[in-house]
Structures are given as structure tokens and as C-alpha cells.
């Protein structure tokens, strides 16, 4: 069977695997709203987040009304329900639903598969809240619900608002949930709609920003649009703009006071700090990325970004993934200062958290069941590797404290012993006292590779033309990691001197005819057959192909080669 046939067969077999979990089961719990998940850890902040979500003032589509006027059709009453999800209903004079649409992604998830047109308003509202409870959007008192009604008749608006509010209370009571419901009426949102569209934000947030801008014309509204709502509330408080003057609530359950109190507490935390020049989230992200290497920054995937208040100071907290590392950054939103990133490798067999900064590092942690794990970060790839030292030559191993390197000394000095030192350590271990006793020797530089958790050298010594010693030597300390001793094998004894690894590489490159295009990702290794014959394995990429060669270490013959297309 060829490799290609095996690949095809593997893909075919793999296709037979399916999870038993149906998507509908998963959809039933999608998504877990961030706002309702947070209170367990940060109750007060979460409350503000929830309240902020509720401040996403749902807007009335004037177009529908004006369209109604143009066609002389009976005017529709527009009802926005905002829990985050945001959903907008248009009802006719008989309180039957004419249209329903989502105003955000969560709203779309709620409406998915629902048909509410032509239903009575109370029935439609009940169905919506049953669904929102089932999907986890409404869970308890920390949620609040904002109902916005627009109609030409103020009295009618009050009636509908009260009816919707009562229906929501009843629907939630069926699930043993009591959540505050606030109602409001709005008038002209044309400017708000335009501003929201221009800045890609919700209309409620747009309304808040424009109101704030009206009070403080010096503010940059476009910049404010990039801030989370909690920052906007803090800015308002900082500028001594009463929050009550920015919102227009006609609360039916004391929500207005609850909201104002919560926001005031949040704003009080930051005291007299001037907040108008907070970093935007994008600016803070750039600060975080700037501390990484170029390739890390290019591959960084942000999985969490939020503004929190740390001792009264606004701080952006980011979590990002680069390859198999998770970095956590805290960037001061006032001055852009940040602590050095922490990255957590998640080894499968260790419960110890290890800090890995920039540059080559060796960090040791103790396994719960004994033994040691070494985390290695090389200066080339920042590859962290784990090894269980209970399986290695522990007698020769000397645990050290954590070593740290800065980006500067990574470039200026190597942490490794050189090849000559490695040879001396091997000679000392074998009892050889002079170079004259060593008839042949070979030091394989493997400090870019890892064995027993550390970069190492492989040393092969032929002593008195009769015995072979082989050592793996710690590339940093020179400690003997493993050793072997045997009589010189017949294959080694009869085939002359080893070719150098550079020679083996050049033979492979010539054989592959890869000289015209500089090979990349070059790596080489040696192996020994049971008969004592040594081989070089040389691998490299060139011209979109990966080449792998096995070359006799003495004769230089190409014994085997393979190619794989790089895709």
C-alpha cells in the first residue's frame, strides 16, 4: 500500500466517525450569555454589565410608521424588547403581531424557528420569554428587561407597555423567575440610528453617547463609541454629568434607581481620574501585541477582551492564544502600561502552573505523583516541552531553580555549552584523560532538540579502536543524561570515518536537486541499526516539497528517500 492509498483509506475510515450529540441539543444551550454568567465571580460588575445591556435602547423603525402613513394603512405600534437579546415587534390596532425582527445576533437565535406573525401580542411575548429562559438569556433577578414602545398616542403607549410588562412578569413567573421590567417611550431616533450605523454600535449605546456629547461638546463621540458602556458611564460620572439626565426611563419597578445606583458605584471607584483619554480596546490590544514577537503577534488569537476596574484603575484584560500558549495581559487603560505577559502551557500530566516569559527558559515543576517536569522554551521557536523525569536518568539530573531570560540576552548570548565542552564532559564520564585515547569521536549538536526535557548533545566516542561510548549530555549544564558502552561493532569498524553531518546534508540536497532553491526547515539526526551501522536522517523543505533522506554515516550512500508535498 502506498502512502497515498493509506491517506485515502484513513480519510475514508475517519468519515465513519460521528458524535452522538445532535446539534439541536447543543443549540438548546447556545449561547450562555456572558452577562448572566459573570455575577458568580464579580456580582457588582456583572450587574452593571447586565444593566448596560439593558441600556441598549431598542429603537423604533420610523420607516415602518412612515410607510404606514404613505399607504394610509392603520398605524403600527412598535415594541422593542431588550434583554440582550433585542427583538422588535410591530403590532396592529388589534394588538396582533404584524412583523417581528431581531435587532442583534442574540435576538436572531431567539427567533430562529419561531413564527409569531398574526399571534396575539401576549401570546407572542410569552413564547419569546419561554424561549429566552430556555436558552439561558433570562435567569434571575440580575437580568433586567427594557420595553420600549412607540406609538402616536401616548395613552395607548402606556396601555401597551403595561400589558407587555404584565405579560412578561407572568411568563417569567411560570419559570419561578422575577426580573425587573422597565418601560420607556422614545421619539426621534434618526440621528441615533445614523450614529449607531456609522460606528457599528447598538442604538441604545449611540443614544447614550450622543446625550453625553450634548452635555459635553468637547468629547469625541466617535472615540467614545469604541468604549464599553461601563467606561461611558464612568466618563459621565467623572465629568459630573448626572446619569439620570442621560437616560429617559419611565420605570415601573424602581429600575431607574437601581441602574443609577449601580453606575454610580462603578464610577465612584475611579475617583477623580480623568477618563476622557482612555485607551480604546484596539489601542490596548496593540500594546499587548507589541510585547510579543512578530510571529507571535501575527498568530495571536484574542479570546477574551474586557474592561475591568482594578483598585479604581481601568484595566483592559485580554486573553489570547499563540499556538499552544495562552497569554493573559492586563493593560492599563489610562497609560497603556502592562505587566509582562503570562503564558500558561497546559501539560497533560502536571497540575503545576508554570510561568514562561520571553526567551529560552527551563522551568521545572514537580509532578503530583513525584518526578519532575521540565518546560523548555528555546530561543528559536519558544517550544515548550514536558518530560517526566521519573523515566529518565534521575541520578544524573540536578534540578535547578527557574531560569529566566529577557529578550535582550536571548539575542546576545547562548545559554548552551559548546560542542567542545560537551566532548570534554563525555570524555570525563568515560574515564578518558587525553585526546590521544580517543581514536574517533563525534559530537552531534542537538541543542535545538529536546531529550528528557532539555536540549542536549549526543557524543559518540571510539576509545582504543575497540570500545564505543555514547552519551546524551545536557546542553546547558553538561550533565550526563544517558550513557551506553559496548564493543565496537563490525559495521563501525570496517567502514572508515564518519562523514560530517554537513556532508550528509549536502549529499541529500544534491540528490534532491534542490540546490537552485535554498532548502528551508533543515533538520538532521542520527540513528544506529541493531548491527551497529549509523545513519544520518536529513530532512528539509524545498520547492513546495518535503524531502527525507537516510544516508549511510560512513559511506555517504543515499539509502532511502521520500518526498511529501507541502500544502
Amino acid at each position: 500500500m502506498t502512502n497515498k492509498q493509506l491517506e485515502r483509506r484513513l480519510a475514508q475510515a475517519w468519515g465513519a466517525l460521528r458524535p452522538k450529540t445532535e446539534l439541536d441539543t447543543i443549540v438548546g444551550v447556545v449561547p450562555t450569555p456572558v452577562a448572566s454568567a459573570a455575577p458568580k465571580r464579580f456580582p457588582r460588575r456583572a450587574l452593571v454589565a447586565v444593566l448596560a445591556a439593558c441600556l441598549v435602547v431598542s429603537l423604533v423603525v420610523g420607516g415602518l410608521l412612515s410607510a404606514g402613513r404613505q399607504t394610509s394603512a392603520p398605524p403600527l405600534t412598535l415594541i422593542d424588547i431588550d434583554v440582550n437579546p433585542g427583538i422588535e415587534l410591530a403590532v396592529d390596532a388589534a394588538d396582533r403581531v404584524v412583523t417581528v425582527q431581531a435587532v442583534n445576533a442574540d435576538g436572531k437565535r431567539v427567533l430562529n424557528g419561531l413564527t409569531l406573525s398574526d399571534k396575539a401580542l401576549p401570546e407572542a411575548v410569552t413564547v419569546l420569554f419561554d424561549r429566552m429562559v430556555a436558552q439561558g438569556y433570562v435567569a434571575g433577578e440580575d437580568n433586567c428587561i427594557l420595553v420600549t414602545v412607540q406609538t402616536a398616542d401616548n395613552g395607548e403607549a402606556d396601555r401597551i407597555a403595561n400589558a407587555v410588562s404584565t405579560t412578561i412578569d407572568a411568563a417569567l413567573a411560570q419559570h419561578d423567575i422575577a426580573a425587573p421590567v422597565a418601560t420607556q417611550t422614545v421619539v426621534d431616533f434618526a440621528a441615533v440610528t445614523d450614529f449607531a450605523a456609522q460606528n457599528g454600535i447598538s442604538k441604545g449605546k449611540a443614544n447614550f453617547i450622543l446625550s453625553l456629547k450634548e452635555k459635553e461638546p468637547s468629547l469625541d463621540a466617535a472615540k467614545l463609541a469604541q468604549y464599553p458602556f461601563s467606561a461611558l458611564a464612568a466618563i459621565a460620572q467623572n465629568l459630573e454629568v448626572p446619569l439620570d439626565s442621560l437616560t429617559d426611563y419611565d420605570a415601573v419597578s424602581g429600575l431607574n434607581k437601581q441602574l443609577a445606583d449601580a453606575l454610580k458605584k462603578e464610577a465612584d471607584e475611579i475617583g477623580a481620574i480623568l477618563l476622557t483619554d482612555l485607551l480604546t480596546p484596539e489601542e490596548a490590544k496593540a500594546k499587548a501585541l507589541a510585547s510579543l514577537r512578530d510571529w507571535e503577534a501575527a498568530e495571536a488569537l484574542f479570546v477574551k477582551a474586557e474592561l475591568r476596574w482594578d483598585g479604581g484603575v481601568p484595566v483592559y484584560q485580554f486573553e489570547l492564544i499563540v499556538r499552544n500558549h495562552v497569554y493573559e495581559f492586563a493593560v492599563n487603560a489610562l497609560d497603556g502600561g502592562y505587566e509582562l505577559p503570562e503564558s500558561q502551557q497546559k501539560p497533560s500530566n502536571s497540575t503545576t502552573t508554570t510561568t514562561v516569559g520571553k526567551g529560552p527558559q527551563v522551568v521545572y515543576s514537580t509532578l503530583p505523583g513525584g518526578g519532575t517536569v521540565a518546560f523548555i522554551s528555546t530561543n528559536k521557536y519558544m517550544t515548550t516541552t514536558t518530560a517526566d523525569f521519573t523515566k529518565g536518568p534521575t541520578a544524573a539530573w540536578t534540578p535547578r531553580s527557574t531560569t529566566t531570560s529577557t529578550a535582550t540576552n536571548v539575542q546576545e548570548e547562548s545559554p548552551y555549552i559548546d560542542r567542545e565542552e560537551a566532548l570534554r564532559y563525555a570524555m570525563a564520564a568515560s574515564g578518558v584523560t587525553s585526546y590521544e585515547e580517543v581514536h574517533r569521536q563525534k559530537v552531534m549538536d542537538r541543542v535545538s532538540k529536546v531529550k528528557y526535557g532539555v536540549p542536549y548533545y549526543y557524543v559518540w566516542l571510539c576509545v582504543d579502536d575497540a570500545y564505543v561510548f555514547e552519551y546524551d549530555i545536557d546542553g546547558i549544564t553538561g550533565a550526563i543524561l544517558s550513557s551506553a558502552y559496548r564493543p565496537l561493532g563490525p559495521a563501525e569498524n570496517t567502514q572508515g570515518e564518519w562523514i560530517d553531518h554537513e556532508k550528509a546534508i549536502s549529499l541529500a540536497i544534491i540528490h534532491a536537486d534542490a540546490r537552485s532553491e535554498m532548502p528551508t526547515d533543515l533538520q538532521w539526526n542520527t540513528e544506529r541499526s541493531p548491527e551497529g551501522a549509523h545513519y544520518y536522517y536529513v530532512e528539509f523543505a524545498s520547492g513546495g516539497w518535503w524531502y527525507a533522506y537516510r544516508i549511510h554515516a560512513f559511506s555517504g550512500e543515499v539509502l532511502h528517500f521520500e518526498t511529501i508535498p507541502i500544502i
Binding site: 484513513l10 458524535p19 436572531k108 499552544n324 521520500e562 500544502i567
Partner: protein
Amino acid sequence: MWIVFQAIGEPTPVKRPIDEGWISCIAAGDMEALRRLYDAVSGSVYGFALSLVRDPHDAEDVVQETFLRICRFAADYRPQGKPLAWIFTIVRHLALDKRRQQTRTLPVEEVVDVTEVADTDDRLLLHCLLNRLSEEDRQILILHAAVGMKHREIAAVMGMPLGTVLSRYRRALNHLKTIAKEEGLHDE
């Protein structure tokens, strides 16, 4: 002296069934896009998770949590032509987290069976893949030959240099071929 010419002409056509645009649709709440994505990759997500957590129930949990994460973070996805890399980075992290939890409770299963696979040869091949290769070789082989990810994407997901991925892929494929032959897999 022996020389084996293992010339492999064109790259093996791999399945790349997912449309990157689905993720942005999911971010906008498009359930149909989520369904298409689920149909396309849930099998691979399950298999890859199973290869790491080595327990079907835990693998199911990883599948569920993966799609929850996809929904939650779809809006943060930056289109770079690497949707599989993004998805399987999530799967890998979740599976490794799950396995870390396992080690605190029960011993991890040594042998993984795929009894749900009907074809005997397919089952044998998957058995060898899941049980006889080293973990990193297994991951690399699965992600390329089965899932259809590019070598460079695998390098990013695994946190390895490209050369290492290619080298290990080649050796893993040869190793699997040898093992499967020993176990009695019929040639095509």
C-alpha cells in the same frame, strides 16, 4: 544498498469542506450556517477529541463545548483562510483541559475502540491509529490525513515548527502502514 523511490505525485486530495464565511454567518446568528458547519466537521471534531481524551463521553462533551465556543467567539474570528486551524485549536485546548480533569479522577483509558465504525478494515485502521501511535504523531496524522488541515496550519495548532510536523507526519504514516499491515489490514 537499497533505494526506494517513494515518489508521490500530486498531493493527496484532502477534504476541505468548510466555507470560512459560515463563521461570520454564525456570528450573525445564522443557525443554518452553524448546522452546515456541524455537519461538515463534527465527526472530525469528535474523532480528534476522542484521540486525546480517550473516552467517548468526554469526547462528546468536547464536541458540545467546541460548538458553544464557536458560537460565542465567532464574532472574534479573523478570516485568514484557516477556519480549520481556528476550530481545531479550540478542540485541542478543550480536550487537553478535559484530560487534565480526567487525571484527577479516573485513570485514562488505555485502549480506545471505535465500535460504531461498521467496516472491519476501517475499524482496524482507526484502532491502530488511535492506539498504536504516539500522541503527537497521532494528532499530526489525524489533522492532515483525516481532517484535511494543511501542514502549516497543523504547525500553528500544535505549536511546532513546520519541519517537525512534516518529519513526524512522514514517519507516522510509515509507522501506521507497518502496524496496520501487521494487524492484518487488507491491501486495496
